[in-house]
């Protein structure tokens, strides 16, 4: 008896209204500035962190769909096509903003100087690794997105090819998570 009631669209619309209302309250009352610090890099760092988080969300779902592709059970191939492109775009955007912050990181009095004095391993091993492993995400995610768009459904039926695409996606996702976690860890110890 309940099979069409309430209407999904009406329900979702109601939920969107409630969420928008709560977001409005939050955006007008929450002092987000308290997190920003007062450096000129506050906004850049925030955009970088937000893009990185978005990359984790989108990239994780894309990787899950890559797994479905690998096992040959994918039905949401359209979603994979969209998410593979989004992942590549977000990876590139995150790295661009990361470059911007890197200038501040390296500057005199910046975190690098602090680490080299107090905690050299954090710079020499973890930060050096992070700044390069993050770059792995760009060519790998673009290659995967290119193949998924270029070969369309053909990639679903081609087991060796879809296996390789999945491997590339997994390496990109691993690189993304390493860069994300190291970034969070490093900024916790000392931020720009």
């Amino acid at each position: 008896m309940s099979s069409e009631d309430p209407s999904p669209l009406v329900t979702i619309a109601g939920w969107v209204v409630v969420t928008a209302f709560l977001a409005l309250i939050a955006s007008t009352t929450a002092p987000f500035g308290a997190f920003l610090g007062d450096t000129q890099y506050a906004v850049v760092s925030t955009v970088h962190g937000m893009l990185a988080t978005l990359g984790v969300i989108i990239g994780t779902v894309a990787t899950y769909l890559g797994w479905r592709l690998f096992t040959g059970k994918i039905r949401a191939f359209t979603d994979l096509r969209i998410l593979s492109v989004l992942s590549a775009l977000i990876a590139t955007g995150t790295v661009l903003f990361g470059n911007w912050i890197y200038v501040a990181y390296r500057a005199t009095g910046g975190p690098r100087e602090f680490f080299l004095k107090n905690n050299p391993e954090i710079h020499e091993i973890f930060f050096e690794f992070k700044e390069f492993i993050a770059l792995f995400t760009i060519p790998l995610s673009i290659a995967a997105a290119f193949i998924i768009w270029r070969y369309k459904d053909q990639v679903i039926g081609d087991r060796p090819l879809r296996t390789w695409v999945f491997i590339a996606i997994m390496i990109a996702w691993t690189a993304l998570m390493i860069a994300f976690l190291l970034g969070a860890g490093i900024t916790k110890v000392r931020s720009v």
């Binding site: 890197y102 200038v103 050096e128 690794f129 770059l135 790998l140 390789w164 390496i171």
Partner: protein, 117 residues
């Protein structure tokens, strides 16, 4: 059906070139650790086109090498392989080993190990 099928060469080109770019970056990074002069030259490569490359240091040149070798090898391999259908076993092995090596070459303890520092 078979006539519609696209040869897998373009896919091989896309994935191998990504690996080539990353491996080149790893080699260049290791080189800057081994030689101060090389590091200065890598920085000058970055300065050639990246705004504020001085602020980024040699990293700007390493990014440049990644970008140039990746795109260049992609274009070349794309046109070489586009009509070909190749067995994937060997390319996949090259890809996995090359990417793994690229990873090691940006990991400081490994660099110090191979440079004997």
């Amino acid at each position: 059906m078979m006539t519609e099928r696209r040869p897998n060469g373009e896919a091989v080109a896309a994935l191998l070139s990504a690996m080539i770019g990353l491996l080149t970056m790893g080699l260049v990074h290791t080189g800057t650790d081994a030689s101060k002069d090389f590091s200065t030259w890598v920085l000058s490569v970055g300065k050639a086109w990246i705004p504020n490359a001085q602020g980024l240091g040699p990293y700007s040149g390493k990014e440049t090498f990644l970008l140039v070798t990746w795109i260049l090898s992609w274009v070349i391999l794309h046109f070489v392989l586009r009509k070909k259908d190749v067995r994937l076993t060997v390319p996949v092995i090259i890809f996995v080993v090359g990417t793994a090596l690229a990873t090691l070459l940006v990991y400081t303890p490994f660099i110090e190990f191979i440079l004997g520092k």
